[in-house]
Symmetry: C2
Subunit: 329 residues, 2 copies
């Protein structure tokens, strides 16, 4: 394992310190936590519902890179691929509540759901108004207990809710909007190489030189199948076909699309894949109103790509294109 | 070699098409070229000096991802690691000249310098006013004929000149400013794994599990030395020491710093390394007025980091923080 690190145990605190130190004053770290909070001048002058997200580290820029005016108020950084603790989440809720309440945006993993729930209960006992939305956009795997995982589509949820919160939506309106957006957000991911978790020291699984893993998660979970590597165009067609099956009246609707690199995938290849997605949808006459391509929700150094389709309703595109001052969007 | 591509010969045109198709209308491709030009509504209404850059592909988001209001007017995308042809560069000059002339921003490689020079001569014969600045920020290697290479610092030059051009600087003023900025921009890069050029099919060089290459270029050029892998902090200290030697009165000045991932380096590790850089400079009492961290000037899928120091003069920080509408900044 070769990585630019110091001690393995210090990876998350040093990463958070690095993010804050190089944020040009936009972010600060809550004392004695690895929670990152807005520090821009607008933050103190606005009164809006606070938005808190978080989860295991290793997905950068998600979530801390999306803290800023027009997106998240704070992000809580857990250990690598491990949920943050309830007390850290509680500290973030407490720090961002400006009297309008706080919405938690949680990816659907049992550890995250449990710890954010405990933090919500602690905060409610302390007279904070708190609501939660749980993102479950991954269509690859459905766990019988937990349901679908929350993956790259989370960033679109954060962007839409961040813009709506700044525009003055109430806690209840934001929770409602979040649930509507999540219902229309579907993601599928593939990998050519698994990630190497620093504490493990080797890739999470091995693939042959002509294989790809179809339907991976963002924590080195294997997918539905190990398959033969195909061209970018064939892959785009297959992923689109499976995603389309999740929507009714697919070709009649408007979409936002996220092509997401998972850490070690060159941007060049992401654009080639996105080009194939765009060509196929154009041939089908499907309207894409918003595109985003890049490394937004990574899995350390996984070589992989995820494709997210968000079926838009009136006004959502404006939230997606609204100005934002974050490091990662 | 496992990559998300179709045919190797189609990589660059498909990448450019993907970039344009997913730019939400911000970019267009000049017909029968792989040159990308601004397509935003402001572009036709402004009158400013045109800024054209370009070079071999494989460094995305550089250069096409930096085309937009407040940065480049156009970028010419050559084949992978290969200069674009003079006729493509000429087409870009011709398309962006609004009567105020065009500045070419060229990385110091013999192929690029030669082809941009030929394009300039073609354009001048056609009554365009054209000037050139050549970026040579890499301190690792000095070729006896060509001098220092142009690497990641190029993006800071493009950002400063882009903001100044929008603010109404003349061609002569921009060339002068560019030369001043370039003189104060110094970069050093290291790699843990070389890039795999698609047409080659394997990494450009091999390193052992405990080795890093110190002083690499952005085209898989080996560096000054192959060395033992050290911690991020030791590496930051060593790179800073060598970069500092390039400046007079180092600790008395103000700096902008770019920590740049070279394609397959997780953002997590870039922030850890940046944290070490920030800590060391703080201990030295050096003022850093602007930070940028991320994959800006990559080398396909190289696992590596470059560190750029730009010694600031009055006003330059404002150009660096000025608003910009590009895909990559």
């Amino acid at each position: 394992m070769k990585k630019f690190i110091n001690q393995i145990e210090q990876i998350v605190p040093e990463m958070v310190q690095g993010l804050v130190q190089t944020s040009n004053g936009q972010l600060r770290c809550l004392e004695q936590t690895t929670a990152v909070i807005r520090n821009d001048p607008q933050f103190q002058n606005q009164t809006q519902v606070g938005l808190v997200s978080g989860g295991g580290s290793g997905h950068e820029p998600l979530h801390a890179g999306f803290v800023g005016d027009g997106m998240l108020s704070a992000a809580v950084c857990g250990e690598i691929f491990t949920s943050p603790t309830p007390d850290q989440i509680y500290a973030a809720i407490n720090a961002v509540d400006q009297g309008q309440g706080v919405l938690l945006i949680v990816k659907n993993y049992s550890g995250d759901v449990m710890n954010f729930d405990m933090a919500r209960e602690m905060a409610e006992a302390d007279n904070h108004q708190v609501a939660t939305v749980v993102v479950d956009d991954d269509i690859a795997i459905q766990d019988s207990e937990q349901g679908h995982r929350g993956v790259a589509g989370t960033v679109l949820v954060e962007k839409i809710l961040g813009a709506a919160a700044r525009a003055g939506y109430t806690l209840e309106q934001l929770q409602d909007l979040g649930q509507q957006v999540i219902k229309q957000t579907k993601t599928l991911a593939v990998a050519l190489h698994a990630a190497t978790v620093p504490g493990v020291g080797h890739p999470g699984f091995e693939l042959a030189d002509d294989e790809l893993e179809f339907g991976v998660g963002i924590h080195n979970e294997r997918g539905r199948n190990t398959e033969k590597l195909v061209t970018a165009h064939e892959l785009a067609a297959k992923m689109l076909e499976q995603l389309q099956g999740e929507f009714t009246d697919f070709t009649q609707q408007h979409y936002a699309i996220l092509v997401n690199g998972m850490g070690a995938t060159p941007l060049m290849e992401q654009y080639i894949f996105a080009n194939d997605v765009a060509d196929i949808l154009q041939q089908q006459g499907v309207a894409v109103d918003f595109w985003k391509v890049g490394n937004l929700v990574t899995s350390i150094d996984m070589t992989g790509i995820s494709l997210t389709l968000l079926q838009l309703q009136a006004g959502w595109r404006d939230w997606l294109t609204a100005d934002v001052t974050t490091l990662g969007w």
